[in-house]
């Protein structure tokens, strides 16, 4: 790993020089709307402050809706046409450590035993430049989920604002970043800028980095075995205010359920979520998860039980989006924490 110190100007200048050959995507603030991953035309448009993007980086790998193939009926013949996948190389900058970890978890589903063409293609054509969180908010609980705000797992390089500012949204106030280059891809892209840290600085930085983990204040206990309380009335209690909308699943960096729909002689794969009433509705009219209780319990169990049993890790990275954006403030961290008593 290479550790460097870079100025914002250096970084932006380098990014601007890439814009011709690469697609560059990063967080951009839309006034009164939120922060969104958008194609960046000018590095100055980047938002590298404290607040998170509304939608996680997942959507750039697993599209909210994408065409899988087209059918045609011409001259009394059926034909099937594949959708051509774009090979354009791209850099995504400003990816949070939790989102990058989320991608590694998605890899277990879409890029291991089964290889999803579109997902793998998106993974292969992307360089990920992370951004550590200098001011995690009260909904963040990444350190309880086996990650942290300073972790580099899943990134090719990662930026750290040098001084965590007490004021929110100004994490990059003094215009300098510590840059850690993790992979060869990252070195190729960012190797040329900044100066390397001295041995003394490295030691100091290591300590500072450890300390930054304490900024994540919310700590929860993740239950070892939820199975025991599957039938507990607890699930009915905690799900009562759930509206059965798709915010928590669609904004989750790790939720990956989808629906297949045929439209206009094309097959569409689009997001679907376990909170929806129709998610498990069968053609017979039977619905195995008829009430909020079964549906909310499914979300918790998929994340904190089933996935762990199958893949060895929990399917939650503690980014807090589902809490931040829940229209009725259902807090999964609190619910999981209390479930372990």
């Amino acid at each position: 790993m290479i550790q460097k110190i870079v100025t914002k100007e250096e970084l932006y200048k380098l990014l601007d020089s890439f814009l011709q050959d690469f697609e560059a995507i990063g967080p951009k603030e839309l006034a009164n709307r939120g922060i969104f991953y958008e194609i960046i035309k000018n590095a100055q448009d980047l938002y590298l402050g404290d607040d998170f993007t509304t939608e996680p980086v997942k959507k750039l790998f697993l599209s909210p809706s994408e065409w899988l193939f087209k059918c045609q009926y011409k001259d009394s013949k059926n034909s099937l046409e594949e959708i051509v996948l774009t090979k354009t190389k791209r850099i995504i900058i400003g990816v949070r450590p939790c989102e990058a970890r989320g991608l590694e978890l998605l890899d277990k589903v879409y890029n291991s035993e089964y290889k999803d063409e579109s997902y793998v293609n998106n993974r292969n054509r992307t360089v990920i430049i992370g951004l550590s969180c200098a001011n995690p908010d009260r909904n963040c609980f990444c350190t309880s989920m086996g990650g942290s705000n300073v972790e580099s797992r899943g990134t090719d390089a990662i930026l750290f604002a040098t001084e965590g500012s007490p004021e929110r949204s100004r994490g990059d106030k003094d215009g300098k970043f510590i840059l850690e280059i993790i992979t060869d891809k990252g070195k190729e892209i960012l190797g040329s800028i900044g100066r390397e840290l001295s041995e003394e600085e490295k030691k100091h930085w290591q300590q500072d980095k450890e300390k930054r983990k304490d900024l994540v204040k919310t700590k929860i206990k993740v239950p070892e075995d939820l199975d025991k309380i599957f039938e507990d009335p607890y699930w009915e209690q905690v799900s009562k205010s759930c509206l059965s909308c798709g915010i928590c699943t669609y904004l989750c960096p790790t939720c990956h359920c989808f629906d297949l729909v045929d439209e206009e002689r094309k097959r569409l794969r689009c997001y679907d979520g376990c909170a929806f009433v129709d998610f498990t509705l069968q053609a017979s009219g039977e619905n195995p998860r008829p009430t909020k209780k079964e549906r909310y319990r499914q979300r918790v169990f998929h994340k904190f039980d089933y996935f762990k049993k199958k893949f060895g890790e929990n399917l939650c990275v503690g980014c807090g989006r589902c809490i931040r954006y829940c229209p009725v403030k259902i807090d999964i961290s609190e619910i999981v924490d209390k479930a372990s008593i």
Binding site: L30, N32, R33, G34, F36, D51, T54, E55, P64, S65, R138, N139, E167, R168, S169, K240, S241, L243, S244, C245, G246, I247, Y250, L251, D259, V261, E263, L268, C270, Y271, G273, F276, V277, D278, I323, R324, Y325, P327, V328, K329, I330, D331, S333, E334
Partner: protein
């Protein structure tokens, strides 16, 4: 059971509270963070007698539910609260730097005409909050601004907004008026518009949602508040509300005795558009 508000896990905001046991009554709170329109939960308990804490605006949606026979008056015990406005939770979420700064009221509060619920079984008065809170601002100011644009400009504006829609249907789920047993968006045989989060499907969905609320939306602002990608859905609702007021002199949720707009007609209704 009583539906009210309790403190959320962050210690600041509120969340819905369902009180079924006497000892849970202590959980109930009432302050500026109680933004939710709880009448949305009434449909979860059909036929059951429910007590509900309701702000003046929330009461309007109860009125619409009563008008539309979705609720029996004897099955709902309305605990009205006087209200001088609740926080703009959307702005708070969008990174207002501290809670105080964000404690400015939402758009619906700024044009609110009454701090006292129109109907209720029990009223909690608040002397301090009594009185109009409306800043006497033109409540259709931003609608008029949009109307002044050309059709193409408007299309561009809404296409940009709807292109962000992720089809999470939070706008529908949070709406007390959205109670169709099978929403048009969920139908598959036939599918009326694209299920995908593409512009075509998003445009259809958002316009159908708004139009289906014509004459029924009481501007509680929940859809816009819930929308995670910040689509100004309130503008659409307000535009339809304004048109209906001008054309039919009808205001949703104002009078429980009145027939719902779409269930009534008058020989003097404007009919120029029928050719």
């Amino acid at each position: 059971m009583i539906i009210g508000y309790q403190r959320a896990s962050d210690g600041v905001l509120a969340m819905p509270c369902f009180v079924e046991r006497e000892e849970d009554v202590d959980k109930l709170i009432w302050d500026v963070y109680c933004v939710y329109n709880l009448s949305n939960y009434l449909k979860d308990f059909p036929g059951k007698k429910i007590g509900i804490i309701a702000k003046p605006c929330d009461v309007k949606s109860i009125v619409v539910l009563l008008q539309e026979n979705q609720l029996r008056r004897e099955n709902v015990y309305i605990i009205g609260v006087e209200c001088a406005g609740v926080i703009d939770e959307k702005r708070l979420r969008l990174g207002a730097k501290d809670i105080q700064e964000s404690a400015t009221f939402g758009a619906k509060c700024k044009s609110c005409k009454s701090s006292t619920p129109s109907i209720c079984d029990r009223l909690f008065e608040d002397k301090e909050k009594k009185g109009k809170i409306s800043e006497d601002k033109d409540e259709y100011e931003s609608v008029r601004k949009l109307e002044a644009k050309s059709a193409l400009e408007r299309l561009k504006f809404w296409e940009e907004e709807f292109s962000r829609c992720i089809r999470c249907y939070a706008c529908r789920q949070v709406c007390p008026m959205c109670y169709c047993p099978k929403c048009v968006a969920d139908q598959t045989m036939p599918a009326w518009f694209s299920k995908g989060a593409n512009l075509k499907g998003n445009l259809s969905w958002n316009l159908i949602r708004a139009i289906h609320l014509g004459g029924r939306c009481i501007d509680c602002g929940e859809c816009e508040r819930a929308c995670p990608v910040g689509i100004p859905l309130g503008e659409l609702n307000k535009k339809i509300e304004k048109d209906i007021k001008e054309l039919f002199k009808y205001e949703a949720g104002a009078n429980v005795e009145q027939k719902p707009l779409l269930a009534s007609f008058d020989k003097d209704d404007p009919g120029d558009w029928i050719k």
